[in-house]
Amino acid sequence: MPAGDSYLPILILLIAAIGFALAPLALAWLWAWKFSPKKPGQDKNATYECGLESKGDAWVQFKSEYYLYAIIFLIFDVETIFLLPFAVAFTDLSVAAFIQMMVFLFLLVAGLVWAWGKGVLTWK
């Protein structure tokens, strides 16, 4: 068999696959054209589909200041992750490790104090 012919089965398979996908669609279209008329309407074409009429605009503005809360939450998040192993291993730790941890905690708390001082925690 020549080398070029080896792709022929794939081509046939491809045509069969496309036909397999398109034939039901074509049949459904034919059926609708022959028997079952289209009945569009205002309610049927509505975007919202839970029985209520949609009102207002979908382009609603969200308060972007919320991202600050998310960032401040990270302070506590990171603290928890590191504080738990720190507390578990506390009795075995050296003084140097303890001081390192305190410095780390201080940096995090300093960030919170800074944000607090700037009035971020007050919801306006």
């Binding site: 028997f35 079952s36 008329p37 009945k39 569009p40 309407g41 205002q42 309610d43 049927k44 509505a46 589909e49 839970c50 029985g51 209520l52 009429e53």
Partner: protein
């Protein structure tokens, strides 16, 4: 084709059919209800779908949360006047062909709340109902019976001709007017194309 010849052929292992029968057979065994319950009847509807009564035997276990994918609306429960426009709108949003089973005393007539001011006296005032089930609430067997009645109804539908069902007739509207909240009642209080007050004839 002659029914006798057909059954004779079937005995020999030759199945003959028509496009109409094939169409109805497919449709009646794949009716997808709308997941939609209004009151206590909905609990019986849920029970019907569960293992003991098993509506799946009739090909109707796929309750769709969207009216776009549903064929059958089971109006299960009290339709308040506040809810009626939403029910009609959901019906309008369903794809053709669509069927309605009015389940329970409330959905067919207002039931125990018939004398009340805020309950619709039957959903058939606004949308065409195919099967009514009495009962308060109807047992799951009653819903299954209604479902089988609907299947029988679908099975008898004709593809062409004057008696063909709503969804095959281009002149019949696919949407029904949605009632509005009026000062005292829904406006209009009924859809005269669908429902007329029963006449009590003397004589």
């Amino acid at each position: 084709m002659d029914e006798g010849l057909k059954s004779e052929l079937q005995k020999q292992g030759i199945v003959t059919t028509t496009l109409e029968e094939l169409y109805n057979w497919g449709r009646k065994n794949s009716v997808w209800p709308l997941q939609f319950g209004l009151a206590c009847c909905a609990i019986e509807m849920i029970a019907t779908t569960m293992a003991r009564y098993d509506l799946a035997r009739f090909g109707a276990e796929v309750f769709r949360p969207s009216p776009r994918q549903a064929d059958l609306m089971i109006v299960a429960g009290t339709v308040t006047k506040k809810m009626a426009p939403q029910v009609v709108r959901l019906y309008n949003q369903m794809a053709e062909p669509k069927y309605v089973i009015a389940m329970g005393a409330c959905a067919i007539s207002g039931g125990p709340f018939k004398q009340g001011y805020n309950v619709l006296k039957g959903i058939d005032r606004y949308i065409p109902v195919d099967v009514h089930i009495p009962g308060c609430p109807p047992r799951p067997e009653a819903l299954i019976h209604a479902f089988m009645t609907l299947q029988r109804k679908i099975d008898e539908q004709q593809l062409t001709g004057a008696n063909r069902p709503r969804h095959l007739d281009a002149d019949v509207p696919g949407e029904y007017p949605v009632p509005k909240f009026g000062a005292h009642d829904l406006e209009p209080p009924k859809n005269p194309d669908v429902w007329q007050p029963p006449l009590a004839a003397r004589g």
